[in-house]
Subunit: 165 residues, 2 copies
């Protein structure tokens, strides 16, 4: 059975007890979450989200720059007025560089990916602060409250990351 | 209380019963999911995901082109070997055009976003097929099984989207 087929089986059970078919946009909580795609992070369970609560944007590292298109759509068309960033401990974004992954694509696939910024980082608290700053400076992003959290994959806890400088 | 503070309260409860701190990469299920950010879709519950199961990439519309950076990282560095795309009914990506949102950013914020492709679409089954085709043709993406689903926000059900042409 492929993973896609396993998803179909699991979904049949989910749909059998589904009771949120009345959910309408706009949202109760006007928030866009930007979180890492990491398999160990279940952003809904970890943040107490119910269906209908929040737009959830996820990518490698939970990087703001790569979420810009979705953030703009969520603010301009869907009415979000708060942003929450979630990065996490033991993130694989700390283990490579642009040069490394571009070199691997060149040698394994014969392809040039030098035009792609893979956005790795060197510190998972600094990356949260960098992304808050990046969003605050972006002229395409509304001036809304932005909170950054670091999720601990070992304990399931989030801790707020604050700039104490 | 801001939404971020509500998340902290909910997370304290989650962390109190957290028992998955032993999760190690690589994954049990070597899959990357590309799903829409829509608030009504809880990708983990709808697909039966446990913490540690799958990389979850989410953006406005669940568009493959905007997930490329994350898909490459998941394949080249994290070992995913299957892709599952999830778009959904009543998607807001059907309600605007690039020209509309660029015009709104120009008039409301005085900013030029003409360089951003917002990737709206006209049909949420065709968008799944388009994204499968786009990934299959991308030379930076490995030749792996790709399955596309349409999630029904009214019933909670996923239905496989297949190219019957």
């Amino acid at each position: 059975m492929s993973v896609a087929e396993e998803f179909e089986v699991a979904n049949a059970e989910y749909a059998a007890s589904f009771s949120r078919g009345d959910l309408l946009l706009p949202l109760k909580r006007k928030v866009a979450i930007v979180a890492c795609m990491d398999a160990r992070l279940d952003s809904a369970r970890a943040l107490g989200l119910e269906e209908g609560d929040a737009y959830v944007i996820r990518n490698a590292g939970g990087r703001a720059a790569d979420a810009l298109r979705s953030i703009i759509i969520s603010q301009q068309l869907l009415g979000t007025r708060e942003i929450v960033i979630v990065h996490h401990t033991d993130c694989r974004m700390l283990t490579f560089t642009d040069e490394m992954i571009r070199g691997k694509l060149r040698s394994d696939l014969g392809q040039n990916a030098d035009y792609i910024a893979f956005l790795p980082f060197g510190d998972f608290q600094q990356s949260v602060l960098d992304d808050i700053k990046w969003l605050k400076e972006s002229l395409l992003v509304l001036d809304v409250p932005i909170t950054g959290f670091l999720y601990d994959v070992g304990t399931g806890k989030i801790v707020r990351v604050e700039d104490n400088v």
